[in-house]
């Protein structure tokens, strides 16, 4: 069941995000909704329109991210918003690695960094997030957002 988050819940979420990513995310223009999907975590949606109580809602705004084990994992669109001002937990990758990520592959890293969720940035493009484990970024790009492998351009 999806529900509108309270002001306090939103502030707590924003505090958590800005702490984790060193960002300056300001939620003023959005309403936040939360949907508890049990094992998959709590999905957060942001919405900038007006509330329309009379109609049965199937989906609202866009998926901003998921709270899992008390950690916030941004969606691609969430990462694109947070990434505008984020100063921490950002990994720069090159064009070829970006294509690999968007094709569903894990990629390697050379730098030692703490494990966890990182915003992946290729030049000016924020392409989503990956989970760093050791020297590997585990791919968590949804299947619906991957480019078709036969058309990968190297």
């Amino acid at each position: 069941m999806r529900r509108l988050m309270t002001g306090e819940e939103v502030l707590e979420l924003v505090r958590k995000i800005n702490l984790e990513f060193g960002s300056d995310f300001n939620p003023a223009e959005f309403k936040f909704f939360i949907k508890d999907e049990k094992k998959k975590g709590k999905k957060i949606f942001i919405y900038s329109g007006e509330e329309i109580p009379k109609i049965p809602i199937e989906w609202i705004g866009f998926h901003f991210g998921t709270i899992h084990d008390d950690k916030f994992i941004p969606s691609i669109e969430g990462a694109q918003i947070i990434g505008r001002t984020a100063t921490m937990r950002i990994l720069d990758i090159d064009k070829k690695e970006a294509i690999d990520v968007m094709s569903g592959f894990d990629i390697g890293v050379t730098e030692e960094k703490p494990a966890g969720c990182y915003i992946l940035k290729s030049g000016e493009d924020i392409i989503g997030v990956g989970k760093l484990e050791g020297k590997k970024i585990i791919n968590i790009i949804p299947k619906s957002r991957r480019i078709s492998r036969q058309f990968r351009r190297i």
């Binding site: 009379k54 809602i57 351009r153």
Partner: protein, 303 residues
């Protein structure tokens, strides 16, 4: 090589020869050739300059779509499912389907209903014109198509939209009233024959009549969802009178307060509706602008 329409479907051939008269051959040769690919820059996420630079850096030739500032026709060999596409920087969309949202003229304060919204090309275009302000309700009846719609809304970063999964016929039962409604109705799809010749094979007057009955239910529902002075844009990507002018005549007959408004679109050659009552509607023929066929009407309530 052109399609052998007579061999594909005699009934189609007879109907369209009568409909287009001396323009029939031009029409057939235009729908037989595949359309150039086109994209719409999603200004919610990218600028046109960025996308033009991206195309140039991939040695893709492109040209401006004259009637849509964000629309670009691209080299047909270029594979468009790129990282940039999946990041939502552009939407792969036919050049003619960019027209109904332009005619709807969305503003950042509107409350808009897109009654048959999937897969979302027009919804996402409307959202970008609204700058993610105002409100859109995007409805789609089928679960599978709702999924495609949601993926596209997400990809394009559309935040001002609610999706509903309801039968579009009878949508007025929710009691919500909108400033503008877009009804891009399910139709016999003859406009898409260039990429899918099956639509010609499937075409029959019986099917057109069945679709026409559905379109009448949908347009009644769409009209009743409008507030006073609201705007309804009705469109199809097909040719038959029964699915186009016939539907508008049905609406005018049923609702005394409905009035067809004149449509003006820059740099686009259009033809008038083919019946006396529907002269203000437009037909877009493939031979005129190198597009799919389209029919569009703009109707005001209580004008």
């Amino acid at each position: 090589m052109g399609l052998n329409i007579g061999k594909l479907n005699k009934e189609f051939e007879g109907y369209h020869k009568k409909l287009f008269g001396r323009n029939y051959d031009k029409f057939i040769s235009s729908i037989s050739k595949p359309q150039k690919k086109s994209i719409r820059v999603n200004t919610l996420k990218a600028t046109k300059d960025t996308i033009e630079d991206f195309l140039r850096s991939n040695n893709v030739t492109f040209s401006q779509i004259p009637w849509c500032d964000e629309g670009l026709r691209v080299d047909s060999d270029f594979e468009l499912d790129t990282v940039e596409h999946q990041l939502g920087y552009y939407y792969i969309q036919t050049s003619s389907s960019m027209i109904p949202p332009l005619i709807l003229e969305p503003t950042s304060t509107d409350k808009i209903l897109d009654l048959t919204a999937a897969p979302g090309s027009k919804t996402t275009q409307i959202a970008q014109y609204m700058g993610n302000k105002g409100t859109i309700v995007a409805n789609e009846g089928s679960y599978v198509r709702v999924r495609a719609l949601v993926i596209n809304l997400q990809r394009c970063g559309v935040s001002n939209t609610i999706v509903t999964r309801q039968d579009g016929c009878g949508y007025e039962k929710f009691g919500e009233r909108f400033d503008k409604v877009l009804l891009d109705a399910p139709c016999s799809d003859i406009g898409t024959a260039g990429k899918n010749p099956d639509v010609i094979r499937r075409w029959s007057l019986d099917r057109v009549k069945r679709l026409s009955n559905l379109q009448k239910k949908l347009i009644s529902s769409a009209y009743e969802c409008l507030r006073d002075s609201g705007i309804l844009v009705y469109s199809t990507c097909t040719t038959s009178r029964e699915e186009n002018e016939g539907i508008i005549e049905f609406l005018l007959d049923r609702y005394d307060d409905a009035k067809i408004e004149e449509i003006k679109i820059k740099n686009l050659k259009t033809r008038m509706g083919i019946t006396d009552l529907t002269r203000n509607c437009i037909r877009i023929l493939p031979q005129d602008n190198d597009t799919e066929s389209y029919f569009i009407a703009r109707i005001r309530k209580n004008a």
